[in-house]
Every structure is written in structure tokens, then in C-alpha cells.
């Protein structure tokens, strides 16, 4: 069962590993909120492009037409109340058009009530620890050995040959598809930040405090991110990997994880203590 699952994981890693290079935009992601965030991002971007066309258009027109080499005489005007009122009011209206949907999404993002599953994420210099609340399951998630070997100066390994260089861990966080997963974040040392672009969440893990966020993945797959808050020497080397699986598969995985540490060790995972 475990072997089949790990094969399945490897298959997924290969399938989702290679994202197109020269990427220029935010991923649409795999949750309702990530799609909503993407749409907001595109809406504001499009407004900016529209405004840019008008404003840059006017500037370029002036640069081309109102130049001394064309023999023009400069006009004398230096103020116009109506123009100034217009270009104060119109931006306010545009900003309101942007602010309303942004606020609506914000309200949904902050609503972490009635979760199906709660995971406590603890940041360490430089790895993550995951605990499934109410289950007897918890483990560390550290940079995969393949990346770890290639990352040093003079390692002699071309990063391009390493699968998911710097974005792979020994043991990912596993969650079921469609479940509302509440994430509680804290840290053991300095401030870290838990970021998974495809799930559209980024939240700081702050020592001594508990932060809260949530996600609900609508697709299975492996989703990769990184620590986003500078946390010391190995800040670049503590990736976040979330594996979304079918609910049945998740239950099987959870049952396997609940076995005593000795049994878990035989499948090569690095189960931590709770």
C-alpha cells in the first residue's frame, strides 16, 4: 500500500514538476480563493493597463507634437479647475470599483470557521514541522536530499539535473482534496512565512504567537512553495510542499502514519516526534 502510494507520489512529482520557464504571471491555483485572487490581480492589472494607455498616450502625444523643433509656440495656461477636479474624481471612482470586490474576497479569506482538518505548522531554522491536530501524527519536512547535495558551492551538480531543485522535501504535508484545511502557524525561533502560490496562502509563522489561515484544494497534485520571510542563512532551503490526495487515499495515509515510529522508519520516512 505504502509502496504504491510512494510510486503514485513520484508520478505526481514528475507530472507537475516542470512548470514552463519564462513564466510571467501568477498561477490561477487550485482553490476557489486562489482563482478569486487571480481574478482580482488581473482586474487591477487590466485597469492599470487601461490607465497607462490613456496617460502614457497623452504624454507620448505631447512629446511627439508639442516639441520646439516643430516650431510651436508654448501655450501660457497654468491651471484649470475643471480638469483638476476631473482627474481627482475619476481615480476615486476607479479605486472604489477595485476596492469593493477586494474587500469581499478579503472577508472570505478571513473566514476560517468549521474546518474539516487542522494542521499546526511550526517553523524552524530551517525546516517545517507539521502536526495533524487531534491525530497522533506529526513530522518534520526538510529539503530533499537531491537538492541538498547540489546546493553547495562547488558541489559539481548542475541544478538543472535535479528534480524540483530547492522545491522538494523528504516528506510533504498530505491533505485530502475538497477538505477545508485550517492551518495554524507558529515558529520555534525566528519569523518564517508559509507560502504556497497555488493555494494562494502566505502567512507568517511568528514565535510565541499562533496565526491562522486556511485553504481548500479542489484538485489533487503536489503544490510547491517556499519560506517567504527572511529567516537566516538557509532561508532559501526550506521549501513547502503540499500533496493533495483523494479523501480515501488520505485516510489510508493517515492510518499508516499512526503506526509506531519503528514501523514508519522502515519505509524511509523521517517521522518526527509529536
Amino acid at each position: 500500500m505504502i509502496r504504491r502510494l510512494s510510486l503514485c507520489v513520484i508520478g505526481l512529482l514528475v507530472a507537475t514538476g516542470a512548470r514552463a520557464d519564462w513564466a510571467i504571471n501568477m498561477p490561477r491555483g487550485v482553490s476557489e480563493l486562489s482563482a478569486e485572487t487571480y481574478d482580482l490581480h488581473m482586474m487591477v492589472f487590466n485597469w492599470c493597463v487601461g490607465i497607462a494607455v490613456v496617460v502614457f498616450g497623452a504624454m507620448i502625444f505631447a512629446i511627439v507634437r508639442h516639441r520646439k523643433s516643430r516650431g510651436v509656440t508654448p501655450a501660457k495656461f497654468s491651471h484649470s479647475m475643471s480638469a483638476e477636479v476631473t482627474w481627482t474624481i475619476i481615480p476615486i471612482i476607479i479605486l472604489l470599483i477595485m476596492a469593493v470586490p477586494a474587500a469581499e474576497t478579503m472577508i472570505r479569506i478571513e473566514d476560517s470557521r468549521e474546518p474539516d482538518l487542522t494542521v499546526v505548522v511550526t517553523g524552524y531554522q530551517w525546516k517545517w514541522h507539521y502536526t495533524y491536530q487531534g491525530e497522533n501524527v506529526g513530522f518534520y519536512s526538510t529539503l530533499a536530499r537531491s537538492s541538498s547535495e547540489a546546493r553547495h558551492k562547488g558541489a559539481g551538480i548542475d541544478p538543472a539535473t535535479v528534480e524540483n531543485y530547492l522545491l522538494d522535501v523528504d516528506k510533504p504535508l498530505v491533505v485530502p482534496k475538497g477538505a477545508k484545511v485550517r492551518v495554524l502557524l507558529t515558529s520555534n525561533d525566528v519569523i518564517h512565512s508559509w507560502w504556497v502560490p497555488d493555494l494562494s496562502i502566505k502567512k507568517d509563522a511568528i514565535p510565541g504567537f499562533m496565526n491562522e489561515t486556511w485553504f481548500q484544494a479542489e484538485q489533487t497534485g503536489v503544490f510547491r512553495g517556499q519560506c517567504a520571510e527572511l529567516c537566516g542563512i538557509d532561508h532559501a532551503y526550506m521549501p513547502v510542499v503540499v500533496q493533495v490526495v483523494e479523501p480515501g487515499e488520505f485516510r489510508a495515509w493517515m492510518d499508516a502514519e499512526r503506526q509506531p515510529p519503528a514501523a514508519a522508519a522502515t519505509i524511509g520516512s523521517t517521522s518526527g516526534t509529536r
Binding site: 508639442h66 481615480p91 479605486l95 477595485m98 479569506i109 507560502w195 507568517d204
Partner: protein
């Protein structure tokens, strides 16, 4: 105004002291202004060298040149040197040179304090840069110095705090001097609303400095006592809160952003009317817009912290307040466009830098509006998108305004016209490479690359390569600038007339070029209907 010129020449009875004493004991605003500008140019190259180290390491994935710790030292020091060593002193230098000349004052109001506020800076930066050679290396926790990470700094820690204190002292003294000068020493007929825009922008900037530099000093002092005197302001284990530091820091940090951009607004408002041969559109509304931006800068700090976990209402407030900044900023952009409209423009180097400022600062403004949208900002926060955003407002924003200002007033300072052809080449190289460097960073951030990392996943390789090539080009292009400036300082090039440009407005153009050592010993008389922008 020709009578004023004659007056100045007859009063020019004592010149500068000879040798090192001239600079060490300088009280003349022009000498101190020159020292500020030269110092900031040196710091631009020090910070720029650090940027070259960063971009070399990021040229391709894997670690090639430095280890991660040194990389973090470079990002931290690059920011501190560029902000406190290059951009801020450059604007203070411009203020020292130009504010007395623009308001018709003989000198700054407090010349000895002026000397002190400059001479603190070389010491502050000697201390800061010396940390590179200390046990544990230079500070590597980011220029924002967030605890608890910054408390892991080695021997450099107290030196970091002390150098920040010194920079703060220097800035506060500089700001007091500028305010006292502007309020008390204007030519008799120059009412506040007749003041040139550069002077206005500096008046408001100086108030911002006085308001927030003590806040930064307080924040770093609390770090110091947390480290050495057993307090726990920011340590949760002792009942403190690391996030409180971020609130205090950004209460300084956001006005600081405007401290670096408002004088740039002032410079652009001087350059565009001169080369459009048309008065500045909406002078008074420009003043109100700067004031509005300055006010708003105090109530938007938490938009730097949208991922730290704040109450919903707090996030919404900071989102709305931040978006509001777009309104007065928009007014400024539109007014500059209206100034150009139906003018008779020529495109000398200062104008080219001002126009590039207009386009590229606006791009930085757009990404600013995008980052105000909290749900999207949760994705942008701490990614390269933010790096692209603030470099667009600080490099083609603040730095381009400084370069434009130097080209604009260099003939007045040195009495020589710079080589226009070389100036234009410098402009085009700079303007092209700045975009090659920073535009791809938007893409990197959106694709998911965090900031402040020495190595990255391989899908980020292509755009990082492009950005690094752009950065090398940008850095090399600035050597041309140094050559152009040094040529003028050495007295090469065509002699400049008093007006330099085509009938520019403003008192600084009524004195000869180079400006005599002492100017406006008698307050100038101003034609009644004239405003100076």
C-alpha cells in the same frame, strides 16, 4: 535681475579657505552641498558593487560565488547603503546647494550644524561598512532588522544600531536646518505659495524626517536593550511581541519611502516647466497633493505587513488608506502631463531623465496600487514582485530625479556645460538597462520566487539571467556619469551662461555660473506677479 548679478560680484570679497580646512570646517552651503553629493555618489558605487555581487550570484541557479550568509549580508547592506547613504544624502546635498539659491538666502540658517550633520555621515558609514570585517560578518537580517532574526547578528549588532542612530541624528539636523532656512530666510517678496516646487517638496520632506527618524531610533534602541539589557520588547518569551517591532518600524518606514520620493517630485516639477517652456500646471494643487501624500504616509504603514495576521477591519482600513494615495499621486502625474501639453519641448538630458521618471515611476505606482489589494498582496508579499515595485519607484523614480537634477544644475555649480552627447548616451543606456534589470522581476515574483534568496528553483533561471545582464549594464553605465561630472568639475566643456537653459524661471538662474561662493548677501527683489516654478 541683472542688477542682482552685479551686486553679488562686488560682495564676493572673501573666497573659500585653502586646502583641507575648506572642507573639514565648511560652513558654506555650496561646499557642504558638494560634499553631500560626492559622498552620495561614492555610496551609490559602494551599494552598487553589492548589487553586482547579488546579481552575479543570481545569474544562474546553484551557488557560484558567495555563500548564503554573505549573500544575506549583501542584500542587507545594499539596502542600508543605498537608502541612507546614496538617495537621502543626495537629496540633502541638492537641498543644501539649491534651497538658499532658490529662495534668495545667503546661506543655510544654521551653517555650523550643517557642517556637523554632514560630517556625521562618513563616520556612520565607516562604522556600518566596518561590520563586513567583524566576527559573524555584517548584519544579514535584512535592512528592516526584524527581530528575532536580527538578534542573531554577531559582533556587528551594536555597530549596526549605533550607525543607524548616527544617520538619524544627521537626518534630523539636516531637516531642522532646511525648515529654519525656508521659514525664515526667504526673499522678502516670496510668500509660501510662491516658493518653487523643489523648496516646497523639501519643506514637507523635512517635517516627515523630524517626525519619523526618532521613531526608527526608538525601535532600534529597543532592539539594543532586548539584546544587551534583558528587556523583552519584541521577545514573546518575556511577554513582548515581535510584530510590534514591525508596526513601529513601518511607522517610520512608510514615511521614509516618501522622504525619498517627495524631493524627486520637486526636482521633476522644476525640470519639466523649463524644457516645456511653460509654467508648472496647477502649482497650488501640486503643493496640496504633496501635503496629502505626506499625511497619508502616516496611516498606511501596515500595508507592509499584510501576512503577519491582523484583524480583518485593520486590513481593510490599511487597504483603503493605501489605495487613497493613488489620488494625490495621480494628480501630480496628470499635472506634469498638463505642463507638457501644448508646450514647446526640447529634450536635453535633464528633461530625458524627468520624462523617464514620469513613465517609469508611474509603472511603480501601478504596481503600488496592485500591492494595495490585500488578497493579491498576500501573493506578492516578500516576492520579487515587491522587489520590482520598490526598485521602480526608487531607481527610475528617486535616482533618475537625482541624475536629472545633477544634469540640470551642474552648469550652475561648475560653470561648465556637460557634454550633451555623452549625457544623452548615459541616459539611454541607463533607461534601457534599468528596465532590463527590474521589469523581469515582476514576472519572477508572480511566478513565485521569494525575495532575499541566494539560489532559486530552475524555472526562475531565464528571467534571473536577463535581470543580471541588465544590472551589469546599468552598473557600468554609471561610470560614464562619473566621467561626465568629473569633466565639468575640472573645468572642461563650454562655459555656461547665468541662465544655462532657455529662459528658466527661478532665482538660481539670476546668479552667474558658476555660482559665486557667496550669493544673495542682499535679498533679491522679485517681480510682483512671478511665481518660481
Amino acid at each position: 535681475m541683472s542688477t542682482a548679478v552685479a551686486d553679488i560680484e562686488t560682495h564676493d570679497h572673501h573666497g573659500p579657505e585653502k586646502g583641507l580646512r575648506r572642507w573639514l570646517f565648511a560652513t558654506n552651503h555650496k561646499d557642504i552641498g558638494t560634499m553631500y553629493l560626492v559622498f552620495s555618489l561614492v555610496m551609490l558605487f559602494v551599494g552598487g558593487t553589492m548589487a553586482m555581487v547579488i546579481r552575479s550570484e543570481l545569474l544562474s541557479p546553484g551557488l557560484q560565488f558567495v555563500n548564503p550568509d554573505f549573500f544575506n549580508q549583501m542584500t542587507t547592506m545594499h539596502a542600508l547603503v543605498m537608502i541612507f547613504g546614496a538617495i537621502m544624502p543626495a537629496f540633502v546635498g541638492l537641498a543644501n546647494w539649491m534651497v538658499p539659491l532658490m529662495i534668495g538666502a545667503p546661506d543655510m540658517a544654521l551653517p555650523r550644524m550643517n557642517n556637523l550633520s554632514f560630517w556625521i555621515l562618513p563616520f556612520a558609514f565607516t562604522i556600518l561598512l566596518s561590520t563586513l570585517f567583524m566576527a559573524g560578518g555584517a548584519p544579514a537580517g535584512g535592512w528592516t532588522m526584524y527581530p528575532p532574526l536580527v538578534l542573531q547578528t554577531g559582533d556587528a549588532f551594536p555597530f549596526l544600531i549605533f550607525s543607524i542612530h548616527l544617520m538619524g541624528l544627521s537626518s534630523i539636523m539636516g531637516a531642522i536646518n532646511i525648515i529654519v532656512t525656508i521659514i525664515n530666510m526667504r526673499a522678502p517678496d516670496m510668500s509660501l505659495l510662491k516658493m518653487p516646487m523643489f523648496v516646497w517638496s523639501w519643506l514637507i520632506t523635512a517635517y516627515l524626517l523630524i517626525a519619523v527618524m526618532p521613531v526608527l531610533a526608538g525601535a532600534v534602541t529597543m532592539l539594543l536593550t532586548d539584546q544587551f539589557f534583558g528587556t523583552s520588547f519584541f521577545l514573546a518569551a518575556g511577554g513582548g511581541d515581535p510584530v510590534m517591532y514591525q508596526h513601529i518600524f513601518w511607522f517610520f518606514g512608510h514615511p521614509e519611502v516618501y522622504i525619498m520620493i517627495l524631493p524627486a517630485f520637486g526636482v521633476v516639477s522644476e525640470i519639466i516647466p523649463t524644457f516645456a517652456r511653460k509654467p508648472l500646471f496647477g502649482h497650488d494643487s501640486m503643493v496640496y497633493a504633496i501635503s496629502a501624500i505626506a499625511f497619508l504616509s502616516f496611516i498606511v504603514w501596515a500595508h507592509h505587513m499584510f501576512t503577519v495576521g491582523m484583524p480583518l477591519t485593520g486590513q481593510l482600513f490599511f487597504m483603503f488608506a493605501t489605495m487613497l494615495i493613488a489620488v494625490p499621486t495621480g494628480v501630480k502625474i496628470f499635472n506634469w502631463t498638463a505642463t507638457m501639453w501644448r508646450g514647446a519641448m526640447t529634450f536635453e538630458t535633464p528633461m530625458l531623465f524627468a520624462l523617464a521618471f514620469l513613465f517609469l515611476f508611474t509603472i511603480g505606482g501601478f504596481s503600488g496600487v496592485m500591492t494595495a489589494i490585500v488578497p493579491a498582496d498576500i501573493q506578492y508579499q516578500d516576492s520579487y514582485f515587491v522587489v520590482a515595485h520598490f526598485h521602480y519607484v526608487l531607481v527610475p523614480g528617486a535616482l533618475f530625479a537625482i541624475l536629472g537634477a545633477v544634469y540640470y544644475w551642474l552648469p550652475k555649480w561648475t560653470g561648465r556645460r556637460y557634454d550633451e552627447k555623452l549625457g544623452q548616451i548615459h541616459f539611454w543606456l541607463t533607461a534601457i538597462f534599468v528596465n532590463v534589470t527590474f521589469f523581469p522581476m515582476h514576472f519572477l515574483g508572480l511566478a513565485g520566487m521569494p525575495r532575499r534568496i541566494p539560489d532559486y528553483a530552475t524555472q526562475f533561471s531565464d528571467w534571473n539571467f536577463v535581470a543580471s545582464i541588465g544590472a551589469f549594464g546599468f552598473g557600468l553605465s554609471q561610470l560614464l556619469f562619473v566621467y561626465i561630472v568629473i569633466s565639468c568639475m575640472r573645468g572642461r566643456g563650454e562655459p555656461a551662461t547665468a541662465e544655462v537653459w532657455d529662459h528658466p524661471k527661478g532665482l538660481e538662474w539670476t546668479v552667474p555660473s558658476p555660482a559665486p561662493y557667496h550669493t544673495f548677501e542682499e535679498p533679491p527683489r522679485i517681480p510682483s506677479a512671478q511665481t518660481f516654478s
